[in-house]
Amino acid sequence: MSDPYEVLGVSPSASDEEIKNAYRTLAKKYHPDHYANSPLADVAAEKMKEINEAYDTIVKERKGRRAGNAGPYTAGQTDYGRYSAPSEYADVRNLIYSGRNADAEQILDGVPTENRDAEWHYLKGTVLYRRGWLEEAYQDFSRACQIEPGNAEYRAALNQISQQRSGMYGGYNPYGTSSDRWSGCDICSTLCAADACCSCLGGGRMC
């Protein structure tokens, strides 16, 4: 196994507090919530496991001193949407969660239009989302919530994609108050633009 300190990106002489902080930052970054429905969920879960193991190893190594009670975040709750209620589309769900997106889509597309219920739209949305077709996924999730407004699973998917669109997880929010970074004066932005023009033919120095 690789060096646990390296995995957490800290030096072996780091204090317990530093290690805990590094661990928390990484755990937040790779948290399954960020990768819900993402095609990279497995890779992120693997990463999470690595971090958990590294943290556990270090804590064990330093046994004797209390390492605080920052219990490892569990990567186990990737059970997103895999729920126990009987489902017409159990096979489609299984295909989606085993990464066979194209097969799942084929079955879904075979369902005649008049039989397409809320769950169909939700699953179709999930397939599209994993493929990166976020706009059509958004429409399908919205449709699912319209047909069945009380369903928490559909609502969670719609909320996630709406928040992403609002700029909460990256991008730019024109109504945003949090983005102080961007509140620079207009002169600066004008200069930046002028600068960019200068460098397109020149040596490429932005200044």
Binding site: H34, L40, G171, Y172
Partner: protein, 301 residues
């Protein structure tokens, strides 16, 4: 669709920014050396990012830099990467191939006089493109396939935004997945790269479309947002603004996917510059291109 993938300079260390410029200069030199002095005109930030990524994925470690004079502007001293390796040649080939298809597109799209410059550059690019094709046939295949697909999509019956972005996104997915090298194909690392490329390509296509929206409406060229909102020259400014805000939310959604994928990238050298571009440079570009004309009042809404 060039020039959208750039760093936010104020957030880079001076050293990191110099290295970024060093790669930019080195790519320019590489273009000049391999494809002749005119090829330098095709230099752009997007291919610089591709070169950075190739360096970051190669096992060669940090390349060496030296000081010299800029060929285009000899009064200026510059700091450039002196390595002559596959990362730079490959990025240079991509620059030429992309420039060639862009110019072909310009020639086909615009009238005789407007396309004079494009026709002239095509004379030269034709030869350079052939050379790049023989050296890097894989790159050429990925790009030409995307261009063909794009044409089919555009003549379709009011295609959706996702479908329009698919060819560019797919092309970048392929380029990025191949960047890891053949020995890595099928591994999680290649999968992460593929996803990163897909999202970045999608973002690039969409921001280009959103940025060009007013121009495309005037010239009656194809634009996915104009199709979606049924915009034409008579549309009121509010309709255009609505389309722009819509485009921004689509871009945000794409960036959230890109950020999640980029968090999983394993990079060697130039990591700070690459992360800066993805996490800060792209949102900055969104703000600049979509909201630069609305001052102050945007935030007071």
């Amino acid at each position: 669709m060039f020039g959208y993938i750039r760093p936010q300079k104020s957030e880079l260390l001076v050293r990191e920014f110099e290295e970024y410029n060093g790669i930019y200069c080195a790519l320019c030199r590489s273009l000049g050396r391999e494809y002749g002095p005119f090829a330098r005109l095709a230099l752009n930030y997007d291919c610089t990012f591709y070169a950075l990524l190739l360096f970051a994925l190669s096992s060669g470690g940090q390349p060496g830099f030296s000081k010299g004079r800029c060929v285009v502007n000899p009064l200026k001293k510059c700091f450039f990467c002196r390595e002559r390796n596959n990362s730079l040649s490959s990025a240079a080939a991509l620059t030429i191939i992309l420039a060639y298809y862009k110019v072909c597109d310009d020639v086909a799209d615009s009238g005789f006089f407007r396309s004079l410059f494009a026709r002239f550059s095509l004379l030269f690019l034709h030869h350079a493109h052939k050379k790049a094709d023989t050296r890097y046939p894989k790159l050429e295949k990925a790009v030409s396939k995307a261009m063909r697909k794009q044409q089919t999509v555009e003549i379709g019956n009011s295609p959706g935004v996702d479908l329009c972005a698919e060819p560019t996104a797919g092309m970048m997915a392929e380029l990025f997945a191949d960047a890891a090298g053949p020995e890595k194909s099928g591994t999680p690392a290649a999968q992460v790269l593929r996803e990163t490329g897909y999202c970045l390509g999608r973002w690039t296509y969409l921001i280009d479309a959103a940025d060009d929206l007013p121009k495309d409406i005037r010239r009656k060229s194809f634009n996915p947002f104009a199709v979606k909102f049924q915009l034409d020259e008579k549309s009121p400014p509010e309709a255009l603004k609505q389309a722009r805000y819509y485009a921004n939310s689509v871009l945000n959604g794409t960036l959230s996917q890109l950020d999640a994928a980029a968090d999983l990238l394993e990079l060697g050298c130039f990591e700070p510059a690459i992360r800066n571009i993805i996490f800060l440079g792209l949102p900055m570009m969104q703000r600049q291109r979509l909201f630069r004309k609305e001052n102050g009042n945007v935030r007071s809404l």
